[in-house]
Protein backbone atom coordinates (compact mmCIF):
# COMPACT_ATOMS: atom_id res chain seq x y z
CA UNK A 1 0.00 0.00 0.00
CA UNK A 2 1.20 3.52 -0.88
CA UNK A 3 0.38 5.01 2.53
CA UNK A 4 2.46 2.41 4.35
CA UNK A 5 5.66 3.17 2.44
CA UNK A 6 5.21 6.93 2.96
CA UNK A 7 4.51 6.45 6.70
CA UNK A 8 7.55 4.22 7.14
CA UNK A 9 9.75 6.69 5.27
CA UNK A 10 8.50 9.54 7.50
CA UNK A 11 9.16 7.54 10.67
CA UNK A 12 12.62 6.60 9.41
CA UNK A 13 13.27 10.25 8.60
CA UNK A 14 12.31 11.54 12.10
CA UNK A 15 12.99 8.67 14.51
CA UNK A 16 13.56 10.98 17.50
CA UNK A 17 10.20 12.72 17.14
CA UNK A 18 8.48 9.39 16.75
CA UNK A 19 10.29 7.92 19.75
CA UNK A 20 9.50 10.92 21.96
CA UNK A 21 5.80 10.75 21.25
CA UNK A 22 5.69 7.01 21.74
CA UNK A 23 7.66 7.44 24.97
CA UNK A 24 5.26 10.05 26.37
CA UNK A 25 2.34 7.81 25.64
CA UNK A 26 4.18 4.80 27.04
CA UNK A 27 4.69 6.54 30.40
CA UNK A 28 0.97 7.23 30.76
CA UNK A 29 -0.01 3.76 29.65
CA UNK A 30 2.61 2.13 31.89
CA UNK A 31 1.33 4.03 34.92
CA UNK A 32 -2.26 3.13 34.18
CA UNK A 33 -1.33 -0.51 33.61
CA UNK A 34 0.79 -0.86 36.75
CA UNK A 35 -1.93 0.80 38.78
CA UNK A 36 -4.60 -1.49 37.39
CA UNK A 37 -2.53 -4.62 37.94
CA UNK A 38 -1.56 -3.50 41.44
CA UNK A 39 -5.08 -2.73 42.60
CA UNK A 40 -6.59 -5.78 40.90
CA UNK A 41 -3.99 -8.16 42.30
CA UNK A 42 -3.98 -6.70 45.80
CA UNK A 43 -7.78 -6.76 45.97
CA UNK A 44 -7.93 -10.37 44.87
CA UNK A 45 -5.16 -11.18 47.28
CA UNK A 46 -6.77 -9.47 50.25
CA UNK A 47 -10.13 -11.04 49.53
CA UNK A 48 -8.55 -14.48 49.28
CA UNK A 49 -6.47 -14.06 52.43
CA UNK A 50 -9.44 -12.90 54.48
CA UNK A 51 -11.71 -15.64 53.19
CA UNK A 52 -13.08 -17.75 56.00
CA UNK A 53 -12.13 -15.33 58.78
CA UNK A 54 -15.15 -13.44 60.13
CA UNK A 55 -13.55 -11.94 63.21
CA UNK A 56 -10.06 -11.34 64.61
CA UNK A 57 -9.59 -10.92 68.34
CA UNK A 58 -6.42 -9.46 69.83
CA UNK A 59 -4.96 -7.16 72.44
CA UNK A 60 -6.08 -3.53 72.60
CA UNK A 61 -4.81 -1.52 69.67
CA UNK A 62 -5.71 -0.52 66.16
CA UNK A 63 -8.27 -2.89 64.61
CA UNK A 64 -6.70 -2.33 61.18
CA UNK A 65 -3.27 -3.24 62.51
CA UNK A 66 -4.75 -6.33 64.15
CA UNK A 67 -6.29 -7.47 60.88
CA UNK A 68 -3.15 -6.62 58.89
CA UNK A 69 -0.89 -8.56 61.25
CA UNK A 70 -3.04 -11.56 62.12
CA UNK A 71 -4.81 -12.15 58.79
CA UNK A 72 -2.47 -10.75 56.14
CA UNK A 73 0.84 -11.21 58.01
CA UNK A 74 1.75 -7.70 56.91
CA UNK A 75 2.15 -5.60 60.04
CA UNK A 76 3.44 -5.88 63.59
CA UNK A 77 0.99 -7.45 66.05
CA UNK A 78 -0.84 -5.26 68.59
CA UNK A 79 0.21 -7.30 71.62
CA UNK A 80 -0.64 -10.57 73.27
CA UNK A 81 -3.58 -12.06 75.16
CA UNK A 82 -3.69 -14.99 77.57
CA UNK A 83 -4.20 -18.37 75.92
CA UNK A 84 -6.93 -19.04 78.53
CA UNK A 85 -9.01 -16.16 77.22
CA UNK A 86 -8.67 -17.47 73.71
CA UNK A 87 -9.84 -20.90 74.79
CA UNK A 88 -12.85 -19.49 76.59
CA UNK A 89 -13.87 -17.69 73.40
CA UNK A 90 -13.72 -20.90 71.48
CA UNK A 91 -16.53 -22.37 73.60
CA UNK A 92 -18.97 -19.58 72.70
CA UNK A 93 -22.12 -20.89 71.00
CA UNK A 94 -21.75 -18.48 68.07
CA UNK A 95 -18.23 -19.63 67.17
CA UNK A 96 -17.69 -22.33 64.54
CA UNK A 97 -13.88 -22.32 64.58
CA UNK A 98 -11.53 -20.31 66.81
CA UNK A 99 -7.87 -20.58 65.89
CA UNK A 100 -5.34 -19.02 68.29
CA UNK A 101 -2.15 -17.91 66.59
CA UNK A 102 1.20 -16.75 67.94
CA UNK A 103 3.48 -14.41 66.00
CA UNK A 104 6.89 -12.93 66.60
CA UNK A 105 9.47 -15.04 64.79
CA UNK A 106 10.44 -15.58 61.23
CA UNK A 107 12.72 -17.70 59.09
CA UNK A 108 14.11 -15.36 56.45
CA UNK A 109 11.14 -13.58 54.91
CA UNK A 110 8.72 -16.24 56.11
CA UNK A 111 6.81 -15.72 59.33
CA UNK A 112 6.62 -18.52 61.82
CA UNK A 113 3.02 -18.83 62.98
CA UNK A 114 2.27 -20.74 66.17
CA UNK A 115 -0.99 -22.53 65.46
CA UNK A 116 -2.66 -25.91 65.17
CA UNK A 117 -4.90 -27.62 62.64
CA UNK A 118 -7.70 -25.11 63.32
CA UNK A 119 -5.61 -22.43 61.55
CA UNK A 120 -5.14 -24.77 58.60
CA UNK A 121 -8.82 -25.50 58.32
CA UNK A 122 -9.69 -21.76 58.46
CA UNK A 123 -7.23 -21.12 55.64
CA UNK A 124 -8.43 -24.13 53.67
CA UNK A 125 -4.99 -25.74 53.63
CA UNK A 126 -4.16 -29.42 54.00
CA UNK A 127 -0.91 -31.25 54.59
CA UNK A 128 0.19 -32.27 51.10
CA UNK A 129 3.35 -34.18 51.98
CA UNK A 130 4.57 -35.55 55.29
CA UNK A 131 2.47 -35.01 58.40
CA UNK A 132 1.21 -32.18 60.59
CA UNK A 133 3.42 -31.02 63.45
CA UNK A 134 2.63 -32.79 66.72
CA UNK A 135 5.40 -31.89 69.12
CA UNK A 136 7.00 -28.51 69.88
CA UNK A 137 9.78 -27.53 67.44
CA UNK A 138 8.16 -29.47 64.64
CA UNK A 139 6.92 -27.36 61.71
CA UNK A 140 4.98 -27.58 58.46
CA UNK A 141 5.77 -25.22 55.56
CA UNK A 142 3.35 -23.37 53.35
CA UNK A 143 3.74 -24.34 49.68
CA UNK A 144 5.41 -21.07 48.65
CA UNK A 145 7.61 -21.00 51.76
CA UNK A 146 8.82 -24.53 50.97
CA UNK A 147 9.62 -23.55 47.40
CA UNK A 148 11.40 -20.34 48.38
CA UNK A 149 13.47 -21.77 51.23
CA UNK A 150 14.22 -25.08 49.57
CA UNK A 151 13.57 -26.86 52.86
CA UNK A 152 12.39 -30.47 52.67
CA UNK A 153 10.78 -32.87 55.08
CA UNK A 154 13.31 -33.83 57.75
CA UNK A 155 15.38 -30.65 57.24
CA UNK A 156 16.18 -28.53 60.26
CA UNK A 157 16.26 -24.73 60.54
CA UNK A 158 16.55 -21.99 63.16
CA UNK A 159 13.97 -19.23 63.58
CA UNK A 160 14.96 -15.62 64.22
CA UNK A 161 13.32 -13.06 66.43
CA UNK A 162 11.30 -10.46 64.55
CA UNK A 163 8.92 -10.68 61.64
CA UNK A 164 11.08 -9.88 58.63
CA UNK A 165 14.16 -11.95 59.37
CA UNK A 166 17.46 -10.48 60.46
CA UNK A 167 16.65 -10.60 64.18
CA UNK A 168 18.48 -12.64 66.81
CA UNK A 169 18.62 -16.30 65.88
CA UNK A 170 17.06 -18.63 68.43
CA UNK A 171 19.26 -21.55 69.38
CA UNK A 172 16.56 -24.20 69.10
CA UNK A 173 16.14 -25.93 65.79
CA UNK A 174 12.86 -26.65 64.06
CA UNK A 175 12.34 -29.88 62.15
CA UNK A 176 10.20 -29.89 59.00
CA UNK A 177 7.53 -32.61 59.23
CA UNK A 178 5.28 -31.66 56.35
CA UNK A 179 4.48 -29.32 53.48
CA UNK A 180 1.04 -27.80 52.89
CA UNK A 181 -0.93 -27.88 49.66
CA UNK A 182 -0.97 -24.53 47.82
CA UNK A 183 -4.04 -22.36 48.46
CA UNK A 184 -3.07 -19.13 46.72
CA UNK A 185 -3.53 -17.33 50.04
CA UNK A 186 -1.28 -16.06 52.81
CA UNK A 187 -0.78 -19.45 54.49
CA UNK A 188 1.34 -20.52 51.48
CA UNK A 189 4.06 -18.15 52.61
CA UNK A 190 4.26 -18.95 56.31
CA UNK A 191 5.67 -21.70 58.50
CA UNK A 192 3.29 -23.27 61.00
CA UNK A 193 4.46 -24.73 64.29
CA UNK A 194 2.71 -25.50 67.61
CA UNK A 195 2.25 -22.46 69.87
CA UNK A 196 4.40 -24.31 72.41
CA UNK A 197 7.44 -23.89 70.13
CA UNK A 198 7.19 -20.11 70.40
CA UNK A 199 6.74 -20.28 74.16
CA UNK A 200 9.79 -22.50 74.59
CA UNK A 201 12.09 -20.47 72.32
CA UNK A 202 11.26 -17.23 74.12
CA UNK A 203 12.44 -18.32 77.56
CA UNK A 204 10.94 -19.23 80.90
CA UNK A 205 8.75 -16.13 81.24
CA UNK A 206 7.04 -16.76 77.94
CA UNK A 207 6.75 -20.41 78.81
CA UNK A 208 4.94 -19.53 82.01
CA UNK A 209 2.72 -16.80 80.53
CA UNK A 210 1.32 -19.01 77.75
CA UNK A 211 0.16 -16.14 75.55
CA UNK A 212 -1.26 -15.99 72.08
CA UNK A 213 -1.13 -13.02 69.68
CA UNK A 214 -4.60 -13.19 68.21
CA UNK A 215 -7.52 -15.48 67.66
CA UNK A 216 -8.97 -15.93 64.18
CA UNK A 217 -12.66 -16.75 64.38
CA UNK A 218 -15.19 -18.16 62.00
CA UNK A 219 -18.71 -17.66 63.32
CA UNK A 220 -21.78 -19.68 62.50
CA UNK A 221 -23.60 -16.72 60.94
CA UNK A 222 -22.59 -13.23 59.78
CA UNK A 223 -24.90 -11.79 62.41
CA UNK A 224 -23.07 -13.78 65.08
CA UNK A 225 -19.79 -12.09 64.04
CA UNK A 226 -21.31 -8.67 64.62
CA UNK A 227 -22.89 -9.46 67.97
CA UNK A 228 -19.74 -11.16 69.23
CA UNK A 229 -17.65 -8.20 68.06
CA UNK A 230 -19.93 -5.77 69.90
CA UNK A 231 -19.76 -7.77 73.13
CA UNK A 232 -15.98 -8.13 73.10
CA UNK A 233 -15.34 -4.50 72.30
CA UNK A 234 -17.75 -3.34 74.98
CA UNK A 235 -17.05 -5.73 77.83
CA UNK A 236 -13.42 -6.83 77.62
CA UNK A 237 -9.92 -5.38 77.38
CA UNK A 238 -9.67 -6.99 73.92
CA UNK A 239 -10.33 -5.74 70.43
CA UNK A 240 -12.46 -7.63 67.93
CA UNK A 241 -12.19 -6.58 64.31
CA UNK A 242 -13.98 -7.79 61.21
CA UNK A 243 -11.56 -8.09 58.23
CA UNK A 244 -14.30 -7.14 55.77
CA UNK A 245 -14.98 -3.92 57.64
CA UNK A 246 -11.30 -3.01 58.02
CA UNK A 247 -10.63 -3.73 54.36
CA UNK A 248 -13.47 -1.46 53.33
CA UNK A 249 -11.95 1.33 55.45
CA UNK A 250 -8.49 0.70 54.07
CA UNK A 251 -9.89 0.77 50.57
CA UNK A 252 -11.28 4.26 51.08
CA UNK A 253 -7.84 5.44 52.24
CA UNK A 254 -5.97 3.81 49.35
CA UNK A 255 -8.55 4.79 46.75
CA UNK A 256 -7.76 8.50 47.14
CA UNK A 257 -4.11 7.90 46.34
CA UNK A 258 -5.00 5.60 43.47
CA UNK A 259 -7.34 8.24 42.04
CA UNK A 260 -4.55 10.80 42.00
CA UNK A 261 -2.23 8.34 40.23
CA UNK A 262 -4.95 7.47 37.77
CA UNK A 263 -5.60 11.13 36.98
CA UNK A 264 -1.89 11.59 36.42
CA UNK A 265 -1.83 8.64 34.02
CA UNK A 266 -4.74 10.15 32.08
CA UNK A 267 -2.95 13.51 31.93
CA UNK A 268 0.17 11.78 30.56
CA UNK A 269 -1.82 10.00 27.87
CA UNK A 270 -3.50 13.26 26.92
CA UNK A 271 -0.14 15.07 26.80
CA UNK A 272 1.15 12.37 24.47
CA UNK A 273 -1.92 12.70 22.26
CA UNK A 274 -1.41 16.47 22.17
CA UNK A 275 2.19 15.99 21.11
CA UNK A 276 1.11 13.66 18.30
CA UNK A 277 -1.45 16.27 17.25
CA UNK A 278 1.05 19.15 17.24
CA UNK A 279 3.69 17.14 15.40
CA UNK A 280 1.30 15.98 12.70
CA UNK A 281 -0.13 19.46 12.36
CA UNK A 282 3.28 21.04 11.92
CA UNK A 283 4.30 18.21 9.61
CA UNK A 284 1.15 18.96 7.66
CA UNK A 285 2.19 22.59 7.30
CA UNK A 286 5.70 21.54 6.21
CA UNK A 287 4.41 18.85 3.94
CA UNK A 288 1.43 20.48 2.25
CA UNK A 289 3.57 20.40 -0.87
CA UNK A 290 4.21 16.69 -0.44
CA UNK A 291 0.55 15.98 0.02
CA UNK A 292 -0.26 17.94 -3.12
CA UNK A 293 2.55 16.08 -4.91
CA UNK A 294 1.15 12.72 -3.82
CA UNK A 295 -2.24 13.73 -5.16
CA UNK A 296 -0.69 15.01 -8.41
CA UNK A 297 1.06 11.65 -8.75
CA UNK A 298 -2.34 10.01 -8.54
CA UNK A 299 -2.76 9.18 -4.84
CA UNK A 300 -6.38 9.37 -3.77
CA UNK A 301 -7.76 11.61 -1.03
CA UNK A 302 -8.19 8.58 1.18
CA UNK A 303 -4.54 7.63 0.66
CA UNK A 304 -3.25 10.96 2.00
CA UNK A 305 -5.83 10.73 4.81
CA UNK A 306 -4.46 7.29 5.65
CA UNK A 307 -0.86 8.56 5.63
CA UNK A 308 -1.54 11.05 8.44
CA UNK A 309 -3.99 8.94 10.40
CA UNK A 310 -1.77 5.89 10.04
CA UNK A 311 1.27 7.78 11.26
CA UNK A 312 -0.59 8.82 14.43
CA UNK A 313 -2.02 5.34 14.89
CA UNK A 314 1.36 3.67 14.45
CA UNK A 315 3.00 6.01 16.98
CA UNK A 316 0.16 5.36 19.40
CA UNK A 317 0.35 1.63 18.81
CA UNK A 318 4.07 1.44 19.61
CA UNK A 319 3.69 3.77 22.58
CA UNK A 320 0.81 1.75 23.97
CA UNK A 321 2.54 -1.57 23.43
CA UNK A 322 5.71 -0.28 25.12
CA UNK A 323 3.60 1.15 27.94
CA UNK A 324 1.75 -2.09 28.57
CA UNK A 325 5.00 -4.03 28.69
CA UNK A 326 6.61 -1.39 30.90
CA UNK A 327 3.63 -1.51 33.28
CA UNK A 328 4.10 -5.24 33.74
CA UNK A 329 7.86 -4.89 34.14
CA UNK A 330 7.31 -2.08 36.67
CA UNK A 331 5.10 -4.23 38.85
CA UNK A 332 7.43 -7.20 38.55
CA UNK A 333 10.36 -4.95 39.53
CA UNK A 334 8.37 -3.70 42.52
CA UNK A 335 7.70 -7.26 43.64
CA UNK A 336 11.43 -7.96 43.47
CA UNK A 337 12.46 -4.73 45.16
CA UNK A 338 10.22 -5.08 48.19
CA UNK A 339 9.82 -8.12 50.40
CA UNK A 340 6.35 -6.91 51.35
CA UNK A 341 5.25 -6.63 47.74
CA UNK A 342 6.59 -10.09 46.97
CA UNK A 343 4.97 -11.51 50.06
CA UNK A 344 1.80 -9.85 48.93
CA UNK A 345 1.96 -11.99 45.80
CA UNK A 346 2.31 -9.12 43.30
CA UNK A 347 3.53 -10.24 39.90
CA UNK A 348 4.08 -8.60 36.54
CA UNK A 349 3.40 -11.83 34.72
CA UNK A 350 -0.36 -11.75 35.00
CA UNK A 351 -2.71 -10.27 32.43
CA UNK A 352 -5.87 -8.41 33.38
CA UNK A 353 -8.59 -8.23 30.71
CA UNK A 354 -9.17 -4.59 31.62
CA UNK A 355 -5.75 -3.82 30.11
CA UNK A 356 -7.54 -3.98 26.77
CA UNK A 357 -9.39 -0.82 27.80
CA UNK A 358 -6.09 0.91 28.52
CA UNK A 359 -4.73 -0.27 25.16
CA UNK A 360 -7.87 1.05 23.48
CA UNK A 361 -7.53 4.39 25.24
CA UNK A 362 -3.85 4.70 24.26
CA UNK A 363 -4.32 3.88 20.59
CA UNK A 364 -7.60 5.82 20.52
CA UNK A 365 -5.89 8.95 21.86
CA UNK A 366 -3.31 8.77 19.07
CA UNK A 367 -5.88 8.18 16.35
CA UNK A 368 -8.08 10.97 17.67
CA UNK A 369 -5.12 13.35 17.73
CA UNK A 370 -4.26 12.46 14.13
CA UNK A 371 -7.84 12.82 12.92
CA UNK A 372 -7.80 16.63 12.60
CA UNK A 373 -4.60 16.83 10.54
CA UNK A 374 -5.77 13.85 8.46
CA UNK A 375 -9.05 15.56 7.62
CA UNK A 376 -7.17 18.74 6.69
CA UNK A 377 -4.95 16.70 4.37
CA UNK A 378 -8.03 15.05 2.91
CA UNK A 379 -9.54 18.44 2.11
CA UNK A 380 -6.38 19.99 0.65
CA UNK A 381 -7.04 21.80 -2.63
CA UNK A 382 -4.18 20.48 -4.74
CA UNK A 383 -4.26 23.08 -7.49
CA UNK A 384 -3.96 25.88 -4.90
CA UNK A 385 -1.14 24.18 -2.98
CA UNK A 386 0.77 23.38 -6.17
CA UNK A 387 0.73 27.06 -7.05
CA UNK A 388 2.64 27.82 -3.84
CA UNK A 389 6.42 27.52 -3.81
CA UNK A 390 7.50 24.17 -2.35
Amino acid sequence: MIAVSVILANLRDRPATFALQAFLLAIGVAMATALLLFSAQSETRLARDARGVDLVIGAKGSPLQLVMSAVFQADAPTGNLPFETAMRLATDQRVAIAAPIGLGDAFGAHRIVGADERYLSLAGARVGAGRLHRAPMEAVLGAAAARATGLRIGDRFQGGHGLTGGGDIHADEYTVTGILTPTGAVIDRVIVTPLESLWSTHGAAAEAAKETTAVLVRTRTPFAAMSLQREINADTALVAARPAEEMARLHVLVATGADVMQAFAVVMIMAAALSVFVTLLSALRDRRGEIALLRAMGATRSSVFTVLLGQGALTAFFGTLTGLLAGHVLLEALSHASVQARGFGLTGWAFDPRELWIAGAGVGAGVLAALGPAVTAYRTDISVTLAEAP
Binding site: V6, A9, M297, G298, A299, L386, A389
Partner: protein, 211 residues
Protein backbone atom coordinates in the same frame (compact mmCIF):
# COMPACT_ATOMS: atom_id res chain seq x y z
CA UNK B 1 -4.92 13.24 -27.00
CA UNK B 2 -6.11 16.54 -25.48
CA UNK B 3 -9.48 17.96 -26.43
CA UNK B 4 -10.62 21.16 -24.73
CA UNK B 5 -14.11 22.55 -25.42
CA UNK B 6 -15.51 25.84 -24.25
CA UNK B 7 -13.51 25.74 -21.03
CA UNK B 8 -14.05 28.26 -18.22
CA UNK B 9 -12.54 28.18 -14.76
CA UNK B 10 -13.61 30.65 -12.07
CA UNK B 11 -11.81 30.99 -8.77
CA UNK B 12 -13.01 33.24 -5.95
CA UNK B 13 -15.54 34.96 -8.20
CA UNK B 14 -12.86 35.74 -10.82
CA UNK B 15 -12.44 34.07 -14.19
CA UNK B 16 -8.90 32.67 -14.27
CA UNK B 17 -9.15 30.77 -17.54
CA UNK B 18 -11.26 30.90 -20.63
CA UNK B 19 -10.49 28.77 -23.68
CA UNK B 20 -12.95 28.27 -26.58
CA UNK B 21 -11.48 25.12 -28.01
CA UNK B 22 -8.11 23.45 -28.43
CA UNK B 23 -6.79 20.07 -29.53
CA UNK B 24 -3.48 18.35 -29.37
CA UNK B 25 -2.95 15.13 -31.31
CA UNK B 26 -1.36 12.03 -29.80
CA UNK B 27 2.44 12.07 -29.87
CA UNK B 28 2.68 15.78 -30.56
CA UNK B 29 4.52 18.35 -28.49
CA UNK B 30 3.15 21.80 -27.71
CA UNK B 31 4.26 24.88 -25.82
CA UNK B 32 1.77 26.80 -23.70
CA UNK B 33 2.79 30.46 -23.43
CA UNK B 34 1.39 33.62 -21.93
CA UNK B 35 2.13 36.08 -19.18
CA UNK B 36 1.80 35.23 -15.51
CA UNK B 37 -1.87 34.96 -14.51
CA UNK B 38 -2.97 34.06 -18.02
CA UNK B 39 -4.03 30.63 -16.76
CA UNK B 40 -1.20 28.38 -17.95
CA UNK B 41 -1.03 26.43 -14.68
CA UNK B 42 -4.80 26.41 -14.40
CA UNK B 43 -5.10 24.80 -17.84
CA UNK B 44 -2.45 22.19 -16.94
CA UNK B 45 -4.29 21.44 -13.68
CA UNK B 46 -7.58 21.11 -15.53
CA UNK B 47 -6.00 18.74 -18.06
CA UNK B 48 -4.45 16.75 -15.21
CA UNK B 49 -7.83 16.57 -13.49
CA UNK B 50 -6.47 18.40 -10.45
CA UNK B 51 -9.23 20.99 -10.61
CA UNK B 52 -12.77 20.87 -11.94
CA UNK B 53 -13.71 23.41 -14.61
CA UNK B 54 -16.64 25.71 -13.92
CA UNK B 55 -17.88 25.11 -17.42
CA UNK B 56 -16.89 23.16 -20.52
CA UNK B 57 -15.13 19.90 -21.11
CA UNK B 58 -11.61 18.49 -20.99
CA UNK B 59 -11.00 15.12 -22.63
CA UNK B 60 -7.71 13.27 -22.30
CA UNK B 61 -7.17 10.25 -24.54
CA UNK B 62 -10.89 10.25 -25.29
CA UNK B 63 -11.91 10.24 -21.63
CA UNK B 64 -13.95 13.10 -20.18
CA UNK B 65 -12.27 13.84 -16.85
CA UNK B 66 -15.34 15.52 -15.38
CA UNK B 67 -17.46 12.42 -15.93
CA UNK B 68 -15.19 10.29 -13.74
CA UNK B 69 -15.50 10.11 -9.99
CA UNK B 70 -12.54 11.50 -8.09
CA UNK B 71 -10.87 8.17 -7.27
CA UNK B 72 -11.08 7.05 -10.91
CA UNK B 73 -9.64 10.40 -11.99
CA UNK B 74 -6.77 9.97 -9.50
CA UNK B 75 -6.07 6.53 -10.86
CA UNK B 76 -6.28 7.76 -14.45
CA UNK B 77 -3.75 10.47 -13.60
CA UNK B 78 -1.42 7.98 -11.91
CA UNK B 79 -1.48 5.62 -14.85
CA UNK B 80 -1.53 7.95 -17.83
CA UNK B 81 -0.19 11.38 -16.88
CA UNK B 82 3.29 12.36 -15.77
CA UNK B 83 3.79 15.84 -14.30
CA UNK B 84 6.98 17.92 -14.04
CA UNK B 85 6.83 20.95 -11.76
CA UNK B 86 8.69 24.25 -11.88
CA UNK B 87 10.80 23.47 -8.85
CA UNK B 88 11.33 19.85 -8.11
CA UNK B 89 8.90 18.43 -5.57
CA UNK B 90 9.67 15.14 -3.85
CA UNK B 91 8.77 13.14 -0.80
CA UNK B 92 11.59 14.44 1.36
CA UNK B 93 11.82 11.39 3.62
CA UNK B 94 12.33 9.04 0.66
CA UNK B 95 15.42 8.42 -1.46
CA UNK B 96 15.40 9.14 -5.17
CA UNK B 97 14.84 5.44 -5.89
CA UNK B 98 11.93 5.30 -3.45
CA UNK B 99 10.35 8.40 -4.95
CA UNK B 100 10.47 6.74 -8.37
CA UNK B 101 9.20 3.44 -6.98
CA UNK B 102 6.28 5.31 -5.43
CA UNK B 103 5.33 6.71 -8.84
CA UNK B 104 5.41 3.21 -10.32
CA UNK B 105 3.27 1.78 -7.55
CA UNK B 106 0.75 4.60 -7.83
CA UNK B 107 0.51 3.75 -11.55
CA UNK B 108 -0.04 0.12 -10.54
CA UNK B 109 3.14 -1.01 -12.24
CA UNK B 110 5.83 -3.24 -10.72
CA UNK B 111 8.44 -1.12 -8.90
CA UNK B 112 11.25 -2.90 -10.69
CA UNK B 113 14.61 -1.59 -9.44
CA UNK B 114 16.36 -2.31 -12.75
CA UNK B 115 13.83 -0.20 -14.60
CA UNK B 116 14.35 2.61 -12.06
CA UNK B 117 18.14 2.44 -12.34
CA UNK B 118 18.13 2.31 -16.14
CA UNK B 119 15.80 5.31 -16.28
CA UNK B 120 18.08 7.27 -13.93
CA UNK B 121 21.10 6.26 -16.03
CA UNK B 122 19.39 7.32 -19.27
CA UNK B 123 18.71 10.75 -17.73
CA UNK B 124 22.31 11.16 -16.61
CA UNK B 125 21.68 10.82 -12.85
CA UNK B 126 22.73 7.19 -12.50
CA UNK B 127 24.45 7.55 -9.13
CA UNK B 128 21.70 9.53 -7.41
CA UNK B 129 19.44 6.58 -6.57
CA UNK B 130 20.39 6.33 -2.93
CA UNK B 131 20.55 10.10 -2.37
CA UNK B 132 17.82 12.09 -0.69
CA UNK B 133 16.18 14.61 -3.05
CA UNK B 134 17.14 17.72 -1.07
CA UNK B 135 20.83 16.84 -1.39
CA UNK B 136 20.71 17.11 -5.19
CA UNK B 137 21.68 20.17 -7.21
CA UNK B 138 18.89 22.04 -8.99
CA UNK B 139 19.81 20.53 -12.35
CA UNK B 140 20.05 17.00 -10.93
CA UNK B 141 16.76 17.41 -9.10
CA UNK B 142 14.97 18.46 -12.28
CA UNK B 143 16.35 15.44 -14.13
CA UNK B 144 15.12 13.18 -11.36
CA UNK B 145 11.75 14.94 -11.49
CA UNK B 146 11.56 14.21 -15.21
CA UNK B 147 12.59 10.62 -14.52
CA UNK B 148 9.67 10.34 -12.09
CA UNK B 149 7.24 11.82 -14.62
CA UNK B 150 8.22 9.36 -17.35
CA UNK B 151 9.00 6.25 -15.34
CA UNK B 152 5.49 4.78 -15.59
CA UNK B 153 5.47 5.44 -19.35
CA UNK B 154 2.55 7.86 -19.40
CA UNK B 155 0.50 8.78 -22.47
CA UNK B 156 0.70 12.44 -21.56
CA UNK B 157 3.53 14.47 -20.01
CA UNK B 158 2.66 17.84 -18.52
CA UNK B 159 5.45 20.22 -17.54
CA UNK B 160 4.83 23.48 -15.70
CA UNK B 161 7.75 25.91 -16.13
CA UNK B 162 10.25 23.03 -16.12
CA UNK B 163 13.24 25.21 -17.02
CA UNK B 164 12.66 28.52 -15.26
CA UNK B 165 14.84 27.54 -12.30
CA UNK B 166 17.65 26.23 -14.53
CA UNK B 167 20.63 27.88 -16.20
CA UNK B 168 21.00 27.67 -19.97
CA UNK B 169 22.99 24.43 -20.00
CA UNK B 170 20.63 22.66 -17.61
CA UNK B 171 17.55 24.08 -19.31
CA UNK B 172 18.73 22.81 -22.67
CA UNK B 173 19.58 19.43 -21.22
CA UNK B 174 16.23 19.12 -19.46
CA UNK B 175 14.32 19.96 -22.63
CA UNK B 176 16.38 17.47 -24.65
CA UNK B 177 15.48 14.81 -22.11
CA UNK B 178 11.79 15.72 -22.09
CA UNK B 179 11.60 15.46 -25.88
CA UNK B 180 13.59 12.24 -26.01
CA UNK B 181 11.59 10.57 -23.26
CA UNK B 182 8.25 11.67 -24.68
CA UNK B 183 9.21 10.26 -28.05
CA UNK B 184 10.53 7.06 -26.51
CA UNK B 185 7.22 6.23 -24.81
CA UNK B 186 5.08 7.75 -27.55
CA UNK B 187 3.73 10.33 -25.14
CA UNK B 188 2.14 13.64 -25.94
CA UNK B 189 4.07 16.53 -24.42
CA UNK B 190 2.60 19.79 -23.16
CA UNK B 191 4.95 22.34 -21.66
CA UNK B 192 3.72 25.55 -20.03
CA UNK B 193 6.40 28.23 -19.90
CA UNK B 194 7.15 31.88 -20.35
CA UNK B 195 10.80 30.95 -20.86
CA UNK B 196 11.75 32.52 -24.20
CA UNK B 197 14.60 29.98 -24.59
CA UNK B 198 12.02 27.31 -25.39
CA UNK B 199 10.07 29.00 -28.19
CA UNK B 200 12.28 27.81 -31.01
CA UNK B 201 11.98 24.18 -29.94
CA UNK B 202 8.21 23.85 -30.51
CA UNK B 203 6.25 23.92 -33.73
CA UNK B 204 2.87 23.91 -31.98
CA UNK B 205 2.20 26.75 -29.59
CA UNK B 206 -0.81 27.98 -27.69
CA UNK B 207 -0.65 31.56 -26.46
CA UNK B 208 -3.21 32.00 -23.72
CA UNK B 209 -3.09 35.79 -23.69
CA UNK B 210 -3.98 35.74 -27.36
CA UNK B 211 -6.87 33.32 -27.19
Amino acid sequence: MIDVENLRVRRGGREVLSLQGWRLATGEAALLTGPSGAGKSTLLNAIAGLLSPTQGRVCVDGADLASMNEATRDRFRAEHIGIVFQSARFIRAMTVEENLALALRLARKPDDLEHILSTLARLGVADMGKRRPHTLSVGEAQRVAIARAVIAQPKLILADEPTSALDDANAGGAMDILFTEARACGATLLVASHDARLHSRFQTRLDLAAS
